[in-house]
Amino acid sequence: MTTVVFPGRYDSLAKIGEFIRRAATEAGFDSLATYTVETAVDEACSNIIEHAYGGEKRGDIECTCNETDDKLTIILCDQGESFTPEEVTEPDLSLALEDRDDHGLGLYFMRRWMDEIHFEHPPGGGNTVIMVKHKARIA
């Protein structure tokens, strides 16, 4: 299990991406599966900065990767405002270009590309996002 704390800034996203790529590669995920995990984590961290912290440089993102025999678990913790992504609706892919909303794709990627996602609100405040990718279901 490896934990790294990153400043809650958008320019941390490239470093977070490197950290996740290394963990996913070490877990044996192929190029596409690694890309899907990196995307899900990038979207989750962007949401933390934008929605939990309400902007950059207002807190940290603690990122933990835990590999076991059958899965890679990623845990993201922040100390920002609680937010409820469950309320965000999925984009309607059947709509024509001019009617397509430009929001909602981040959570959509997280839900579609990870096998499990849990959003928790710890008693001490902040948010915890737990995302799991099973090795048996490597894309």
Partner: protein, 111 residues
Amino acid sequence: MEITITPYKHSDLVKVKGRVDSATAPQLLEALNAKVDSGRYKIILDFSELDFISSAGLRVMINIQKICKRYNRGEVVLASVPANIYSALDLAGFTTFFKIYNDVLAAVGSF
């Protein structure tokens, strides 16, 4: 992320290299807005050296496509899309919004 713009007679080639995420998407938006603000609506996005694109980058793409296609004055097309990036575009339903060419030559020739 690095952006290189090559103007052609009928279109503009915009090569996007590296990583488009919430940190860099605003620079891409600025570069593409500058093109459409100068009346250039036929744009090729060369993704041959694009490593990663998040929903922030996809937002830029869809909004610029809406502007370019308005009044049938042009469109954004894609060239040399890596497999992982294609998977993201496909999942987002973007492969119906953008023509995708195997290489830049074919994309430039389409205009």
